[in-house]
């Protein structure tokens, strides 16, 4: 168990700077998820923590120790890889014992830890099998087992669920979360899947182009994104963005329809008639379908309907913006239907169109 501290971190690949200047503090026993689109530097950051990549500037601390230049073998961290990276020529038991043998642990202790981990992960039945004879889900568990037996200072996960099918992914996601709660060790988990990030993390770190956009609890990131990138990245379907202008107490959409300003946080800081381009961000789940002819809300025409069972996604176009709303299946909407959508009070966000920053 240990805290992690990254200070003024710089990483380059040749001429290309992938992490220009990064600071991050991860307290002991926290489950942190690094999330961002492909190429945002999240995996590189994880590999820097693991000692698999060198750095071009700054400082990496694990616990009280400065580990710049300390090889992976001496960092006492465990890592679960995307492709599991089990040793193909060793049995599950040998895979799990390998790191402990390298440490010089005695046989009884190794056996005790393997038994304990295999009970925790329910892999006791195939300890003597080779990885080749295991399914994807089983391999995934063995990879976790190999990490757990080590009792490391820090666990690192590099997109470990991306090779699993959707059903298994949900199951393993829950397992990892349960496991994290049981063993309470510092964990850093990398994913590009915002659902994984939301469901598992104590704190989420959203990254883009090697720069941290926002660090916060899942609900904080979801409810109060600091910019349009975070707002658009977290949440599924993604947040809708509509260009608006301030008109008296209202926000006017491209179509001429208005949204009352008092329902939108941050509206009070705006003044009417200013030049600033403003974007109204509303999540699909914060648009209530009021039905036709209720008078209130923004009238739209339904382009496409995606029934999900528990609720229904309707696609529509407002001005030149394609958007989605998550409405009750009881509305029984069909393409071509007219419906009024009402933004849930206090849930929409305002952004500066130029900088993308949230207007608080």
């Amino acid at each position: 168990m240990a805290s992690i501290s990254l200070r003024k971190l710089v990483k380059k690949f040749g001429e290309l700077t992938v992490i220009p200047d990064l600071d991050l503090e991860i307290p002991d026993r926290e489950f942190v998820v690094l999330v961002g689109p492909s190429g945002c530097g999240k995996s590189t950051l994880l590999r820097i923590l693991a000692g698999l990549e060198t750095i071009d500037g700054g400082e990496v601390m694990i616990g009280e120790e400065r580990v710049n230049g300390v090889p992976a073998a001496k960092r006492d961290i465990a890592m679960v890889f995307q492709d599991y990276a089990l040793y193909p020529h060793m049995t599950v038991r040998q895979n799990m014992a390998f790191a402990l043998e390298n440490k010089g642990a005695d046989k009884a202790e190794i056996e005790r830890r393997i038994t304990e981990a295999s009970r925790l992960l329910d892999i006791g039945d195939y300890l003597d099998r080779r990885p080749k004879a295991l399914s994807g889900g089983q391999r995934q568990r063995v990879a976790m087992g190999r990490a757990i037996v080590r009792d490391p200072k820090v666990f690192l996960f590099d997109e470990p669920l991306s090779n699993l099918d959707a059903k298994l992914r949900a199951a393993v996601r829950a397992e990892i979360k349960a496991l994290a709660q049981k063993i309470r060790t510092t964990m850093v988990f990398v994913t590009h899947d915002q659902i994984e990030a939301m469901t598992m993390a104590d704190r989420i770190v959203v990254m883009k182009a090697g720069v941290i956009q926002q660090v916060g609890k899942p609900e904080e990131i979801y409810e109060r994104p600091v910019n349009m990138f975070v707002a658009g990245f977290i949440g599924s379907p993604a947040m809708n963005f509509f260009p608006v202008t301030v008109e008296g107490d209202d926000l006017r959409l491209q179509t001429g329809d208005t949204v009352p300003g008092h329902a939108v946080p941050g509206f009070a800081t705006l003044s009417a008639g200013q030049d600033r381009q403003i974007v109204l961000g509303i999540r699909p789940e914060h648009l209530d379908g009021a039905g036709e002819g209720k008078g209130e809300g923004v009238p739209i025409t339904v382009d496409l309907v995606e029934p999900l069972g528990s609720d229904t996604l309707i696609h529509f176009t407002l001005g030149d913006v394609a958007a989605i709303a998550r409405v009750s299946p009881d509305l029984r909407l069909a393409p071509g239907d007219r419906v009024s959508l009402v933004p849930a009070p206090g849930k929409a966000r305002l952004f500066d169109a130029e900088s993308g920053k949230a207007i608080q």
Partner: protein
């Protein structure tokens, strides 16, 4: 459909013809060698060649009477096995490092050394070994043959090491292994087929190599291939004896190739595809 049903047999026929021609080209000298080794000396060079003759073992019998054939065989085995071992012990780790670091110039240099004509090395080596009074020693042969085996091992092993997922090596790093332990405990067990293939190829090339043994050996350390040269005299050549010796010399690589043929081919392609 029509075109297809016609084209397939034609393709097959062409294939068979090609293979037959290739087969004849390869087999004829071998067959000539083996048959000649069972002919009386005067019949070997008879024209037109005789296909029907009464076979004799006199050439084989004379081999051990006129030459220390078994001693030469021992020399060949000693030099070949030692140079193959050196090739594996140095070439396999080198291939691993080249594969891992992607620093390829040492491999290219070794390839150039392998492709350059042997005579290029011969004179400097001769001078060098003479300076150290090593002409005629086993070591001079073993070391020079290692120059044959090492590039073979390096280049055969490369795709096998490339085939190991980098994450597996990284997992071993994280599990507390240094480079030597990773090589020994993780990489080597995963490329055992490659090591077998490389060993066989290195063995065959070293076994058959003529030039270095001819110049750097003496009567005591001559290898079989170099010793077979004794049968070619200035005035007359003992063709029967030469063919018998050649047949026996060709046997170990031939047997080795036939025994491991399937494995050899699948091993060679496996390493390549995996990478």
């Amino acid at each position: 459909m029509r075109a297809r049903s016609f084209s397939v047999p034609w393709f097959t026929v062409l294939n068979v013809i090609q293979l037959t021609i290739a087969g004849i080209v390869v087999i004829t000298p071998t067959l000539w060698m083996v048959l000649s080794s069972f002919k009386p000396s005067f019949e070997v060079t008879a024209y037109p060649p005789t296909l029907i003759f009464s076979p004799t073992l006199e050439n084989y019998a004379s081999l051990s009477q006129t030459t220390p054939f078994l001693h030469y065989a021992f020399n060949s085995v000693l030099v070949t096995v030692s140079s193959t071992l050196i090739g594996i012990l140095l070439g396999a780790p080198a291939a691993f490092v080249v594969s891992w670091t992607r620093i390829t110039w040492p491999a290219i240099v070794s390839l150039v050394a392998r492709m350059a004509p042997g005579t290029l090395f011969l004179l400097p080596w001769y001078v060098m070994f003479r300076h150290f009074d090593m002409i005629g020693s086993y070591w001079s042969l073993i070391l020079t043959h290692a120059v044959i085996t090492l590039p073979i091992v390096l280049w055969v092993m490369l795709p096998f090491f490339d085939g190991i997922p980098r994450s597996v090596i990284e997992a071993a790093q994280i599990d507390g292994c240094g480079p030597i332990k990773i090589f020994r405990r993780i990489a080597v067990p995963l490329v055992s087929t490659g090591i077998a293939v490389a060993s066989i190829l290195a063995f065959v090339f070293s076994w058959n190599y003529f030039l270095f043994a001819l110049v750097l050996s003496n009567a005591q350390t001559k290898t079989l291939v170099a010793a077979s040269f004794n049968f070619i005299g200035e005035g007359a050549t003992n063709w029967g004896g030469l063919m018998a010796a050649a047949t026996l010399i060709a046997l170990p690589p031939l047997i080795l190739a036939v025994v491991v043929q399937r494995w050899l081919v699948s091993g060679l392609t496996l390493g390549a595809v995996k990478g």
